[in-house]
Point group: C2
Chain length 324, copies 2
């Protein structure tokens, strides 16, 4: 895959997802000691970059495939993204969600018209349920990250970021920081940045370092994710295609802890006026540490989403407003 | 004054303030029963549209005037806006603030390098302090709203909004909703919308209806603002120039109460992922009622700013998350 796949995806999903703003915030620049260009995917449809890949993947199916139904398994933003894409293309969708999914996420998926099947509490159980449905119905499973259409779709966020920085400054970015879960967003970012030789930095929560460990081992390893605020960054394993792309392009990996993530989230809220979910604030947390290799002056930061429970907002504002 | 003044201001402040994004949020559209185009001035420099007018006004001074110093009086966003503008043009700034100003606002103004003079608790006392300083120093007072440069600068927000809607849809807005304090933002909006015959709707907090009462009386009246969450919308009187412009162009006025304002703020936070201060959410509160005269299909909503105390965020999220 290359940047051409991302460009083609951008053409195909134009008008179906938003071109999200790139936000500047001098107060955060000062804290980071660099110019931060914040790609606000929290302002994307369904509140996360996941809308891009899902819209692209569902859009590429032919009408017969769509009529047999769209399937996926997810506890988070991918469920809403697939539900939105299915609704857009008027296809029936069934989504396997965990029995302990928060009511607010279940309601969001239902509002988008998808049917929900509850299946255990692990990603393994959810995937099994989706495969079973596929065997029964001949529907198409939209994978959450390990698929070329998903990676190309996710890459459009980074493509827009670089385009906009170029349009506004006439120059390029010196580095891009990306939060890593299963690896959809970072694989897409790598395809785009490789073309311009822009270093890509991966950011994972401490204890959920599936990519860092896989890069160190030279092959994909399975991890048992530890507890983290960043509930969207807890894969047990990086995707295969994602790992192949990331291992060729990622410059460095960074681990951030819950205090840094919570503080970054509250700083985004109070200073940049953006509601970003903890997973979405992880890359900023790394940027705020400063000291990135090569001392990049102009840094792109992917804010991957903004879906967060109200009680979590209250809790984090209370904890971090004092040092925001 | 006309739209040409606003266009000229836009040329002059280009690059000194942000061109803020226009955000779409289907969930809010559904609640309003219309397409909402949200002009996100909470993402403006210093977190409010006030940066536009202040930058324009200070930028139009000649170097001698700037050297004698910039003065203003404000308890809120205008103080930060003038401090930023003075810093941008390397002019000394002194700002009269109330003795009971929140520490967070005092700190923000100081961070921008301005000197603060504390003067009583009323706008009258602050203005007197600024006039006294002017007599001593020959400095220039940057008025908070009642001045052509401020109105033209504020109008650039609406100009950008209409430009962007036209670029994205090929069409115009059917109505624009604007929160009203002293009248800077709405006077600017009127100049821009008059050119295109777009109806402008004014939104004030119940009990702070200086514009509505003045329009009814056919002349400016002085009010005693009642308590409201919208601390930026509590003028005792609309500006003279502002009233002259608004009375020629405003189609209708709307009064919103604290429950509506708080709920609109929390909906913006949880659904549109934007932190907007209560004053900034007032126009959305009116849009969410629906039933606007002429049933506009495509409505522009000015989100005027995003500077809000963390404890207020916690409190409002707790109160309104359930019905957001």
């Amino acid at each position: 895959m290359s940047i051409d796949d991302v460009r083609a995806a951008a053409e195909r999903i134009r008008g179906q997802v938003w071109r999200t703003p790139v936000v500047r915030c001098p107060a955060l620049d000062e804290l980071a000691g660099a110019e931060l260009w914040l790609k606000a995917e929290n302002l994307q449809r369904i509140g996360a970059f996941k809308a891009r890949g899902a819209m692209h993947a569902v859009g590429r199916l032919d009408p017969q495939q769509r009529a047999r139904g769209i399937l996926t398994y997810s506890s988070g933003n991918h469920a809403q993204a697939v539900a939105l894409a299915a609704k857009t293309f008027e296809a029936p969708a069934t989504i396997a969600m965990p029995t302990d999914a928060p009511a607010i996420k279940v309601a969001a998926v239902r509002e988008l018209g998808a049917r929900i099947v509850f299946a255990g509490t692990t990603s393994h159980e959810r995937r099994a349920a989706a495969l079973e449905l596929q065997a029964e119905t001949g529907g198409t499973i939209i994978e959450p990250f390990d698929a070329p259409e998903i990676i190309a779709g996710a890459g459009t966020a980074t493509l827009e970021l670089l385009d906009e920085v170029r349009a506004r400054t006439g120059e390029s970015l010196d580095a891009v920081l990306v939060p890593v879960g299963g690896g959809g967003l970072i694989a897409g970012a790598c395809l785009v940045c490789a073309d311009d030789s822009i270093p890509v930095h991966a950011v994972e929560p401490r204890g959920c370092d599936a990519l860092a460990r896989s890069l160190a081992a030279g092959e994909r390893v399975v991890v048992t994710p530890g507890p983290t605020l960043a509930d969207g960054l807890k894969p047990v394993q990086i995707g295969a295609l994602n790992f192949a792309i990331a291992s060729a392009h990622v410059r460095a990996t960074h681990l951030v802890d819950d205090v840094e993530i919570g503080r970054a989230m509250v700083r985004l809220l109070l200073r940049a006026k953006l509601l970003v979910e903890p997973s979405g604030a992880a890359a900023l947390a790394a940027a705020l540490r400063g000291g990135l290799e090569g001392q990049p002056r102009r840094i792109g930061v992917l804010l991957s989403g903004g879906n967060v429970d109200p009680t979590r907002i209250e809790e984090l504002v209370r904890a971090h407003a004092g040092d925001a």
